[in-house]
């Protein structure tokens, strides 16, 4: 029988206000095995931990139950405290009487009763705990960054500057991401390319950074410190070493009908292309869907004009397998599809555009060379209407329930830039709320109103009706004047909601990183661990975790990099000792467990077994504890109960069930 000490935390008043902690102490003392029980203000404090240590020494405790907050919060704290006081850290169990009790119940009697039951269950479990010892695994000193936008670039630069090798995997032909598509950035109106391009160059030139563009992550296996990743390098049909980036091939290419991804499909590009002038690497790719040579075997013009001899139509996809200690997801975002918003006539009129399309139109390298003009007839617009929250803050099934966060600011930016460059253009913004938390943000928005005379109307637009003469009839409401407004516009700009890049789901599944209902990756803790995924060794950078602007993204990228560096700086990691363990005497050798193991951690061997004096060589399971992650799938698959999970054994769980149902 264990000698168990129970420690009940008040958590200030968080627990004590709803749970009668004295009563819990009094009742839990009656449980078999409990030789000590006490309560304290803050068990997690230095003094609280000392109480545990003193009790271990004085009462010879062999097991500890702490009734406190969630084990996800302080299990590690109390395990360390126990270890310091000389008992095995895995002899500690937590009864979660805060998140699962005091915080959700109001009635003190009821909450106290439940707290006692939860404590009993923990005591019943500890009675069956056994000391466990973690194994060790080596750390591969190399990081993978998935996504080559500003988030990925910054993370990679920071990791590389700390002296570790980093690979960036980017699925498009160039790094740069969404930021490279922007014209200016708020709230200072710097030119986006002017501040991004140097970072791209830095990344490309960094000796510790290796960039795989036009590549995708195909498969991930392993675990923190020792991931093995397959990267598919898509056939580029251009030899990266030979190409000089002269651009002649793109000029001569006869197939110029492919919609330009970089310009959001607003104009066309050639089949062989670099997405934009500052692309890194400055090596084009051939789009096999449009290349005449690859489709019909005829043409081959680019090969003929290429003086470097870099064109290679025979190139094939290549799989690169690499080991990494840590993985950063920086997959970024896209704007939502607007096909469910017929009322805004996005698909009916070329002059109804998204804000990201406007960025391209205003950009000197864009489809209109930076001239503000209507895409339908090339005329200069006189009246522009901006509509906010298109698909954001929607609780219906058409849009997203969250605020996309960046739209208020970029719309103020657009309005201001237009009024600055074209003072005779009237700009109207329909808004629900203007949200400008951020340094110099509200000042920025006020300048748009006060200095640039942008007409902000509180209210929404109900519909946009294209007129026969090409004008757009905008019907909205002014909630302050309590008037319905009908106005003509020649351009309507929609602040479409942003959503995580579509490939993130697949990547999250490969990484077993959790994802929320909106496809944003979940952080390990919403406040305290915002750049880590709950999956060890996986970190989050940029909009894949939630909407954010450039400064926030860069800050988060740096934070993720520090977490990665902290991990890579270690030579060894302790592995989870809660692994599966077979009882050879009971093993049938049937292989059922191996069939469900996701890690291939179970193998079979013919082994001489001494079963109470009967010696027999037979086939039995053995678990590689370095590979086993402790999910327990095998324990249920095993019919004989031979396979058990250390730390969550069958008997332990049954004891908890019994204690709860008592």
């Amino acid at each position: 029988m264990q000698r168990i000490g129970v420690f009940v935390c008040h958590c200030g008043s968080n627990i004590a206000a709803t749970v009668d902690v004295k009563k819990v102490v009094e009742l839990i003392k009656l449980e078999p095995g409990v030789v000590h029980a006490e309560d304290y203000q803050y068990m997690c404090s230095e003094a609280g931990q000392e109480k545990i240590a003193v009790a271990i020494r004085e009462k010879g405790l062999t097991g500890i139950v702490v009734c406190s907050c969630s084990p996800r919060m302080h299990e590690a704290t109390f395990r360390k405290a126990a270890e310091k006081a000389g008992i095995n850290p895995y002899m500690v169990e937590i009864a979660n009487i805060r998140e699962q009790c005091s915080w959700i119940h109001k009635d003190m009697e009821e909450a106290t009763k439940k707290a006692v039951i939860l404590a009993r269950a923990a005591v019943a479990k500890v009675n069956l705990n056994a000391p466990l010892k973690p194994g060790e695994s080596l750390v591969t000193k190399r990081a993978l960054v998935i996504g080559g936008g500003i988030a990925g670039i910054q993370t990679a630069l920071d990791i590389a500057d700390a002296g570790y090798e980093v690979d960036i995997v980017e699925k498009t032909p160039s790094i740069g991401g969404r930021m490279s598509q922007l014209d200016k950035t708020f709230p200072t109106l710097d030119c986006s390319a002017c501040i991004l391009t140097p970072k791209m160059v830095d990344a490309a030139a960094h000796e510790k950074i290796n960039i795989y563009t036009y590549s995708e992550v195909e498969k991930v296996s392993g675990f923190v410190g020792d991931f093995t990743v397959d990267i598919r390098k898509k056939a580029r049909y251009v030899d990266m070493d030979k190409c000089t980036g002269c651009g002649v091939c793109q000029e001569k290419c006869p197939s110029k009908k492919a919609p330009s991804e970089f310009n959001r499909g607003l104009n066309k590009r050639s089949a062989i292309y670099t997405p934009f002038a500052q692309a890194i690497p400055n090596v084009p790719v051939i789009d096999a869907d449009y290349c005449v040579k690859l489709k019909t075997g005829k043409c081959g013009l680019c090969e003929k004009v290429c003086q470097a001899g870099a064109i290679d139509y025979t190139q094939k996809d290549e799989i690169i397998t690499q080991k990494y200690g840590a993985i950063v997801v920086a997959t970024g975002f896209d704007v939502i599809k607007l096909d469910k918003y017929d009322e805004y006539a996005y698909s009916q009129s070329k002059d109804v555009i998204t804000s990201l399309e406007l960025e391209r139109i205003m950009n000197a390298a864009g489809p209109t060379k930076g001239h503000l003009e209507r895409l339908s007839d090339g005329k200069a617009p006189k009246n522009i209407v901006f509509i906010q929250c298109v698909g954001s803050r929607c609780s219906d099934n058409r849009g997203k329930s969250y605020c996309s966060k960046i739209c208020c600011m970029y719309t103020a930016k657009h309005a201001m830039l237009i009024r600055d460059k074209y003072p005779d253009v009237n700009v109207t913004v329909f808004y629900i709320d203007v949200r400008t938390p951020g340094k110099n943000f509200d000042e920025f928005y006020r300048r748009a109103v006060e200095e640039y005379g942008v007409n902000y109307i509180k209210g929404q637009v109900g519909k946009v009706l294209p007129q026969p003469d090409g004008q757009l009839l905008v019907q909205g409401v002014d909630l302050i004047d309590n008037k319905q407004i009908k106005m003509e516009a020649d351009m309507v700009v929609l602040a479409a909601a942003i959503e995580p890049e579509s490939s993130v789901r697949k990547i999250a599944t490969m990484l077993t990183a959790s994802i929320d209902t909106n496809n944003f990756l979940t952080e390990a803790h919403p406040k305290l661990r915002p750049v880590e995924s709950p999956t060890a060794g996986v970190f989050l950078s940029g909009v894949c975790q939630g909407p954010k602007d450039i400064p926030e993204t860069v800050a988060q990228a740096g934070a993720a990099a520090v977490k990665v560096v902290g991990l890579l700086a270690k030579d060894k990691l302790l592995t989870n000792p809660c692994t599966a363990k077979p009882d050879e005497l009971l093993c049938n050798g049937c292989s059922t467990c191996a069939n469900v193991c996701p890690y291939g951690a179970i193998s079979y061997e013919d082994k001489l077994i001494n079963d109470h004096g009967i010696r027999e060589t037979r086939r039995v399971a053995s678990v590689n504890s370095a590979l086993c992650q402790g999910c327990g799938a095998c324990t249920v698959a095993c019919p004989s109960g031979c396979m058990d999970l250390q730390g969550f054994s069958n008997r332990q769980i049954i004891a908890e069930v019994d204690a709860i149902c008592r």
Binding site: A508, T512, S514, V636, N650, C661
Partner: protein, 147 residues
Amino acid sequence: MSIKENEEFRPKIVAFCCNWCSYAGADLAGSSRLGYPADVKIIRVPCSCRVNPMFILRAFEKGADGVIICGCHPGDCHYSTGNYYARRRMTLLFSLLDYVGVEKGRTRVEWVSAAEGVKFSATMNEFVEKIRSLGKNVRLEDLRCRN
């Protein structure tokens, strides 16, 4: 011990929650103060695939009135495939329990992510309500366990 007629029926409910999603979802429900009845007691397991049918039957045998298993959404399992196995096992087990006359509402599987505190709380409220309407479990109880 029989329930007195004027006494409100307070069911015993065991909730198995996987450590990575649902337990964290329960924590989020807690820190968001989204209440649910105290009848629900949570047992932390590493993954929904750790839940052995033996545990469920044991709970019923010892007098539980309902058992709910919560895990990561399919596709989001921390161990990548655990909840897929759990899904098949529980589908078949629940179907058999229904077949032997255990009311279907007494067992439930719900996928709750770490971000779904609201869903966790709503699910538990709903489940407790359901069990209250079904009343005490007598069909799988071991009569010797009654006091």
